[in-house]
Symmetry: C2
Subunit: 272 residues, 2 copies
């Protein structure tokens, strides 16, 4: 769609998603927003919806593990409006697809969650790696995303939530690219901030980088050269090891790749 | 004390406070920590203790107004341990003095809050301007702190909490000092981040800069020159206009100037 008619605004994209005219993965940042598209790329967000009864526990967990789960907005209980990020949006309808869990099992993957929304529902909008990748690419950093992995790095637990960190791994073409990536990611704490590890994958419990637990993009064809560097960032995927989710009557997330586009520019959310 | 015997560790300072051997304002950052004192200055924190029933509302309020209230740690309900900032500390005893409010009125100003601590008490540790001032001074920025002021800038409300922003005003000796202050504060989102206003005080509802609502430090004797600039940052003081606090059975804060010293370096908490 966007390639045919040029960039569209976040509000217009959300309107089409709400009307079920757009149900696939979001278009790339380059195609959402006014020209020049690259500098008007809008932040996209992961979604987690929980009952108010465990909302504080989840806030605690995210606050303690902010490199994976940086909360950018929290709705009032019962209100579907993410006021800070998109005051005319509705988190129940404005993502292309959702996943509904009950006590840890997927029970539905609908295109809206009106039927699952309750007076005590609270939505958390959490920074996505797609924004971080945009920042790296915009700066001309050369790298490939290897995938996302379950690790042996424990998250700091909070009440009913505990588990290991999920990380995304990126292989950089040179020392200079890796250094630049550390600088750029540090400016973006809303989208994971600085890396949590650099060096051997085994040191954080990843057995084989060629076998990601959550494949993202394409695996690199070439082998590593002497000056490639692999860096690891916290990731917003709720780990399969996460306790707590199994005890929750209803937990809703976005369907993988089907995020919410906001009215905030990625560049605007940088520290400076 | 510290001037006589040299720098002491945060843990030792907290131990003395706990033993009521130190009840005054905290020593300056330069005198807490190992040499070289300047580079080992430790972060200090504002404290707010609330019942769990309103903890989520307060998180919402802080998250929406993070330039005033950046939460650096939240204790488990009932636990007095700020795990992220000082895992061997106890927020009930490790600040020199407290203020206990009941429905908006001060009812006690004790040296510990053991008698007021309940199984549902939650403590919030909130970044303090004292750290931010350390960062500015360490960089050699020339300025004077004018004080803290109630403004007409509304905070974003959340549930039972609403009110106007309190700001601290600083007058910088030159354009270059003001520019440097914006750069440095941007690196420190844990301590208010970038300024919220620059220019005339009247534009944000401050009638007279010479009459701060909350005096801090000393007022400058000289008048402003052509190249002085006044900048305003969000402030962690709970505004007198804050609704919500009046409805809360018990709210505890630190006594002004009696903060909690943490094990985290101020420099370590910078974005980079």
């Amino acid at each position: 769609m966007p390639t045919e008619e040029g960039p569209i605004s976040p509000a217009e994209l959300r309107r089409r998603i709400r009307a079920n005219e757009w149900t696939g993965p979001l278009p790339s940042p380059r195609t959402v927003g006014a020209a020049p598209a690259d500098s008007r790329a809008y932040a996209k967000m992961n979604l987690v919806v929980l009952p108010l009864a465990v909302a504080f526990d989840f806030v605690l967990f995210c606050q303690r593990n902010a490199r994976a789960y940086a909360i950018a907005d929290i709705t009032e209980p019962g209100s579907p409006v993410p006021r800070l990020l998109a005051p005319d949006a509705d988190v129940r309808t404005d993502l292309p697809r959702y996943r509904v869990f009950s006590r840890g099992s997927i029970i539905d993957e609908p295109h809206d969650i009106n039927a699952y929304w309750h007076a005590d529902s609270v939505a958390f909008l959490i920074g996505s790696s797609s924004c971080f990748d945009w920042a790296l690419r915009t700066a001309g950093v050369q790298y490939e995303t290897l995938g996302a992995y379950e690790t042996a790095l424990p998250c700091l637990p909070s009440r009913c939530f505990a588990g290991n960190m999920v990380v995304t791994a990126r292989r950089f073409a040179s020392s200079q690219d890796a250094v630049r990536a550390i600088q750029i990611s540090s400016r973006h704490p809303a989208f994971h901030g600085a890396p949590v590890h650099m060096g051997p994958a085994q040191a954080i419990g990843i057995a084989d980088l060629a076998k990601p637990d959550y494949p993202l993009g394409t695996m690199p064809a070439q082998t590593a050269s002497d000056d490639t560097h692999t860096l690891y960032w916290g990731c917003g995927i709720l780990s399969a090891s996460l306790t707590g989710s199994a005890q929750i009557e209803q937990l809703i997330t976005h369907y993988p790749g089907r995020l919410m586009v906001t009215d905030r520019l990625i560049a605007e959310m940088a520290v400076f």
